[in-house]
Subunit: 244 residues, 2 copies
C-alpha cells in the first residue's frame, strides 16, 4: 500500500466505502499540498473568507467559537483522518476558528480539488458526505451532552467518543489512549469550569472507571463507563462499509 | 420554470450554486416519490436502520433525541427545502428521531438516488454537501447557544435564525413569519423549561423587540434584536452563489 492508502483518512473512509484503485487515486489527488502548523496559532479565524479545508494527518486540533464576552465554546476536537474546516470551505466565511493543540501536519484541500475529485468518483463524494455527516452527528451529541447530560455522564461520554474515534484510525482502544488535551480544553468543550472538570475527573477515577493523567486516558472499567454515559457508538458508524 | 426549479430546495441551493439545466434535471430525478406524513407521528425513530432521507416540500418538522430519563433535546427544526435525515441515510442507523410538527409533504430520497445524482453532476454533490455543512453550522450555533448564551440572547438568536432561513425559501422576512412551534418545542430546543420560555418571550415583547403569539412571530425592532442576540447570519451563507 502506498502512503495515501495507509493514511488516517483512507482508514476512516474504509468504514463507509470499500475504495477502488481509481477512488484511491482520486483521494491521492487531494493529498498534494502538505503543510505544517505549530501548536497554539490559529489556522483559520472565525469570520475569515476564502480559507482552505485541510485533511489532518498527524496531531490534534480544536474548533471553537469565541463569544463577545470572551467565553469560548469548543465545538469539537479533530484527530488524524479528520477534515478541518470542510464545513467552512463551502460556506463563504468560516463560522469558527481552528487552532492546533499540538504541532500538526495537514494537507490543504481547495473547493476545486473537491469538485475535481467528485467529478472523478461519485462514491468518494458520498464518502466525504458520510464523513461530514459523522462530524455533524458528533456535534449533535455534544449539544445533547451540554443540554441534557449531568457533568459525570457528559465527561464519560466525551472520553468514550474520543476513544472510539481514535481506535478507528489505529490510535487507541478500550484500554485507553494518549491525549494532549488540558482541563481547560475539556472545560470549554463540555461547558464546565476547570475546577468542575477537575472534580469530575477525580470522581470518575475514585469510582474506578477512568483516569486521565499526564497525557494518558486509562479506562479501568469500559462497561461501567459505557453504562454511566449511556454511550451508544452507533452514531460514529464504525461497524463496516455500507458501500462495497 | 417547472415545479422542481421552483421548489424550496432549488431556491435554497441557488444560494450556493447557479444550477444549469442538466443540474436541474438531476435534481428533478431526486423528486420522484412524493409522500405525505401527518403531524405528531415519527417518520424516523432513533436507532432505526435502512431509513430513507427526505426533502421537505411543505410543513414543519423537528429532529430530536430522547434520553433514557425521558428528557428531550430538539436538535433542529426543518422547514421547506431542508433535508430530513440526510445525515442518517449515510450512517447505518439514525442518531435521532424525526417528527412532523404539521402535516407535511416530502420527497423520499434513497442513497442510490443520491449516488446517481452525484454521478451525473459533481456540482450538485457539492451543493448537497453545502446544504449539509449549513445544517451542521446551525447545530454548532445551537451548541454555542445552549453552552454560552443567556436565555434571552438564546431565544433572540433562535428566532432570528429561523427568520433568515424562512426568508431564503420565501416564507418570511425581517418583519416576521408564521410559526407553528409551541412553547414546548422552544423549551426542548433551547434547554429551558416551558415556564422559562414564557418569561423570556414576555420580556422580549415588553422590551419592544419581538412578539411570538398565535402562530406568528412579529419582529418589532430587528436591529436591536440582532444586537441582543449578537446574531451574525454569515453561517447561514445566504448572500449569493459561490459557484457560478
Amino acid at each position: 500500500m502506498n502512503r495515501t492508502e495507509n493514511s488516517p483518512l483512507a482508514r476512516k473512509l474504509a468504514a463507509f466505502v470499500a475504495l477502488s484503485p481509481d477512488e484511491f487515486a482520486a483521494l491521492k489527488q487531494l493529498h498534494q499540498r502538505r503543510r505544517t502548523f505549530v501548536a497554539g496559532r490559529d489556522m483559520v479565524h472565525q469570520g475569515q473568507s476564502d480559507q482552505a479545508a485541510y485533511i489532518l494527518e498527524s496531531g490534534w486540533v480544536c474548533s471553537y467559537k469565541i463569544m463577545s464576552d470572551g467565553a469560548r465554546q469548543i465545538v469539537d476536537f479533530q484527530i488524524p483522518g479528520d477534515f478541518l474546516g470542510l464545513r467552512s470551505v463551502l460556506l463563504q466565511t468560516s463560522d469558527h476558528s481552528i487552532e492546533p493543540i499540538t504541532d500538526i501536519q495537514a494537507v490543504e484541500v481547495l473547493v476545486d480539488d473537491l469538485l475535481g475529485a467528485f467529478a472523478q468518483t461519485p462514491r468518494l463524494a458520498a464518502a466525504i458526505l458520510w464523513a461530514a455527516s459523522r462530524d455533524e452527528a458528533m456535534v449533535v451529541e455534544h449539544l445533547v451532552g451540554v443540554g441534557r447530560r449531568d457533568a459525570n455522564a457528559r465527561m464519560a461520554h466525551f472520553l468514550l467518543e474520543l476513544g472510539a474515534r481514535l481506535a478507528l484510525v489505529g490510535m487507541g482502544g478500550k484500554e485507553g489512549y494518549a491525549c494532549p488535551l488540558t482541563q481547560y480544553h475539556l472545560a470549554d468543550a463540555l461547558g464546565l469550569s476547570a475546577v468542575h472538570v477537575n472534580r469530575v475527573l477525580r470522581q470518575l477515577r475514585e469510582d474506578g472507571l477512568v483516569t486521565f493523567r499526564d497525557g494518558q486516558v486509562t479506562i479501568h472499567d469500559y462497561d461501567r463507563l459505557v453504562t454511566l454515559a449511556e454511550f451508544d457508538p452507533a452514531y460514529l458508524d464504525q461497524t463496516g462499509p455500507i458501500l462495497k
